[in-house]
């Protein structure tokens, strides 16, 4: 990292504040909802940056456990693609009926996965 502050998440905070506290006030009425959506997207990305790799590692471990295999945890840039590959494999196995006999166990695991998505996209939703 060779950039000066503000860091990426802090820049998004600034953008979200501007959209929410300023633009929303003077945007035409029919565009205000879209301004709110934009502000919210900035907040989502800022949360994702702050969460770092931890949710990806947890998901990879969970998918490997459900699939019954040890999945290699690649470093850095390779990690998101590896998680997506595992997610696709799991989705295909579920569709094929591989979990029909233990749907409860699958659903308990997927609750953790979906909760991690909500922590970034909509904090608090799972606890309301």
């Amino acid at each position: 990292m060779t950039q000066d502050r503000p860091d990426a998440a802090e820049l998004l905070d600034a953008l979200a504040e501007f959209l929410y506290a300023d633009v929303r006030g003077w945007a035409p009425r029919e565009k205000r909802f879209q301004v709110l959506v934009a502000a919210n997207l900035c907040a989502v990305v800022a949360r994702q940056l702050r969460a770092g790799e931890e949710p990806l590692r947890s998901d990879l471990a969970l998918f490997g456990e459900l699939l019954g295999t040890e999945l290699e945890v690649p470093a850095g840039d390779e990690l998101p693609a590896a998680v997506r590959r595992a997610e696709r494999r799991l989705a295909e196995e579920i569709r094929r009926g591989a979990f029909d006999a233990r749907l409860d166990q699958l659903i308990a695991g997927l609750r953790q996965h979906v909760r991690r998505k909500l922590d970034v996209a909509r904090p608090g939703y799972a606890d309301e």
């Binding site: 959506v37 579920i94 979990f99 909500l118």
Partner: protein, 327 residues
């Protein structure tokens, strides 16, 4: 859309109105929103009308002609619905196929209905009014609808349809896949077939100070299990933050179901209702994924559509919660 195309549409609407003895200037204003239909506000001779037509270049899955017939039929059976003035087939005066209908005054935008002062009485009246309207929809004899009975086993066909919708965008969503397996394993027993509105939720109701004025957006209407409409109405996403009020974010289930039964509807068994709530959440998750995909693939670039990709997890969570509840 270019000025000339809009001019042609204006002339076409004026011509249709003149034919009905209502000559005069016509003004058109495009109303934003509506993914699969264009909506125009029409001002003609001091009167307000609404034009809904297929977007140029795309043909709708549900033909507009069938939709016009259903809205008329619903009105005849006492369902509050807009009065249909005219249906125009494709490649004629409206360009694409379109329906000209009476404008119903009121509000349909969900957050405004739920939070704005002036709608207190409407909110109090809505649960019972929605129950009554839905019972009347479900009481319409299916033979009069012109719709075909689903081929094969209806619940299985509905699940397959949404598997296909997901496969078309090839998005890996394990929670949705788990939901699909649960639906397959827990189908409700067969029931009578009814006209299902298909999108009976806040956002598709025009509401005035006293409550429900019209049920709109009939494009997803089909024949099926009537409880599908109740499950869809009650999913958390359509409560718009009023999480403890299952009926459209305005009321409890009891007054809604009381009115539904009083108006001739059969009370839904709790397990059947749960099945259709799970189904509704799953459907909404897939729709969110498809909308985000429309942005990603360039069909329609929009940050609003993009944002829906990050909302898939909301109905996924609600679906897993519903499945987790022991029957």
């Amino acid at each position: 859309m270019g000025d000339s195309e809009e001019g042609a549409l204006r002339a076409g609407v004026a011509d249709v109105l003149a034919e009905r003895g209502r000559a005069g200037d016509v003004e058109l204003v495009r109303i934003p929103g509506g993914a699969s239909r264009e909506t125009w506000l029409v001002e003609a001779g001091g009167e307000r009308l609404v034009l809904r037509r297929d977007p140029p270049g795309s043909e709708s899955l549900v033909p507009q002609e069938g939709e016009a017939r259903l809205i008329r039929l619903a009105g005849e059976h006492g369902v509050p619905a807009p009065e249909i003035l005219h249906f125009e087939p494709a490649d004629r005066r409206f360009g694409t196929a379109g329906i000209l209908m009476e404008h119903v005054a009121g509000e349909s935008v969900a957050p405004r209905l739920l939070r704005k002062p002036g709608f207190e009485r409407a909110r109090a009246n809505l649960p019972a009014q929605l129950g009554e309207a839905l019972a009347k929809i479900h009481a319409i004899p299916v033979g009069e609808t012109g719709l075909e009975e689903p081929a094969g086993e209806p619940v299985g066909s509905a699940i397959e349809e949404w598997e296909r919708m997901l496969d078309q965008i090839s998005e890996p969503l394990p929670a949705v896949e788990a939901g699909l397996r649960w639906l397959r394993a827990n189908p409700p027993p067969p029931t009578r077939t009814a006209l299902v509105h298909g999108d009976f939720r806040l956002g598709n109701f025009i509401v005035g100070g006293d409550g429900l004025q019209a049920v709109i957006d009939w494009e997803l209407a089909h024949l099926g299990d009537p409880v599908e409409d109740i499950g869809w109405l009650c999913i958390r996403s359509w409560r718009f933050g009023n999480d403890d009020l299952p009926v459209a974010g305005v009321g409890a289930l009891e007054p809604f179901l009381d009115a539904y039964v009083r108006a001739g509807g059969s009370p839904p068994e709790p397990e059947r209702l749960r099945f259709w709530e799970v189904f509704g959440n799953l459907k909404w998750a897939v729709i969110c994924a498809r909308q985000a995909h429309d942005h990603l693939s360039g069909v329609r670039r929009s940050h609003e559509l993009a944002s829906l990709g990050r909302r898939i997890c909301e109905p996924e969570w609600d679906m897993l919660e519903l499945i987790g509840v022991d029957a």
